[in-house]
Amino acid sequence: MSINRRKFMKLTGLTAIGLAVGTTPKICSGISSRPQGLQGSETGKRLAMVIDLRKCVGVGECDDCIKACHFSHNVPDFGNPKDEIKWIWKESFEHAFHEQEHAYLDESLKHAPALVLCNHCDNPPCVRVCPTQATWKREKDGIVMMDWHRCIGCRYCIVACPYGSRSFNWRDPRPFIKEINPDFPTRTRGVVEKCTFCEERLARDLQPACVDACKEKAMFFGDLEDPGSEIRKLLSENFSIRRKPGLGTQPEVYYIV
């Protein structure tokens, strides 16, 4: 069978058209109300948090959010920093945002505590390294979830997370939980844990425990895909920063400073 130049060109052209048509719907289905470069979820929902650090200034030792979170999720307190388990905690501004830090920074900001937690990244490195899919990004709302049944304690995710948001249970945590909340499971030795954006509370139409507990109303939670949501409004009206944006993880916890 021989093929002449004319026929060859025709076939090549048709193939190119076919490929173009085949991929178009895929590209179009990714369009959402979010700016370009960010993934839209299948259900058009992307949960995120906004923390107004200005409201955390001058409140002293307030740690209502931390207490509420750690109580409702049975987070143990081993009393030593080596074994420490934390879901949400305070970090100094210069540690949390070292890319933004400089010698002449506003003193009040410099010493203000920044609340840090799992950023529920759009492009989570912890998910990529998990060998058992014990941690995964939920399709319907973008929450980076943990399945403690599946975690084998390899700690790859701890290494991969650039925010230190994950803690490992080196010891049996149960005896170290001050007050057990029977509505939430504890963990066992050899399991990694972190914030889940209170997925169990969201299922009951409640806000995350930290947002609920904050007396200063410094924390906001909502859907980034909804252009009318409170957090979208806050983000469009205020200057906000994220932790280590240069790494490309697309963190979804925003800070108003």
Binding site: K140, M145, W148, I180, P182, T186, T188
Partner: protein
């Protein structure tokens, strides 16, 4: 066979020893005492029929675990139209109020050691 008597006696002693757990349990009658499980304190019907639950409750619980954790599907409506939460500590223990007289009693008899309660909490045990 040289030393047939010694070898045969040795073999008999060996078999008696190795089968000790079997005949001891038969003789003492312990193994024949199938543990009596406490009836559910409330609720007329379980989420599945009793036969299925007796043999397959562990599969159902694994299924529930995956549905709740992986897919976020927390509720299920049974054939009788009742909706219940897929929850070990809430739904199961709500009717089977005594974990030690229901779960533990049979698990001890069957010599199985499931790790459900390493994490999940029986709120009655806390008190």
């Amino acid at each position: 066979m040289y030393d047939a008597g010694k070898i045969i006696i040795g073999l008999i002693i060996f078999f008696v020893l190795i089968t000790f757990p079997i005949w001891y349990n038969m003789a003492s009658g312990e193994a024949l005492d199938v543990p009596e499980l406490e009836k559910a304190a409330k609720g007329e019907q379980c989420v599945r029929d009793t036969d299925y639950m007796t043999t397959n409750h562990m599969d159902l619980l694994n299924e529930w675990r995956d549905q709740v954790v992986r897919d976020g599907e927390r509720y299920e409506t049974g054939p009788d139209g009742v909706t219940y939460e897929r929850s070990l500590s809430k739904t199961c223990l709500d009717c089977h109020v005594n974990k030690d007289k229901f779960c533990d009693r049979c698990h001890n008899y069957a010599a199985v050691d499931p790790y459900c309660w390493d994490c999940h909490i029986d709120s009655k045990e806390l008190q």
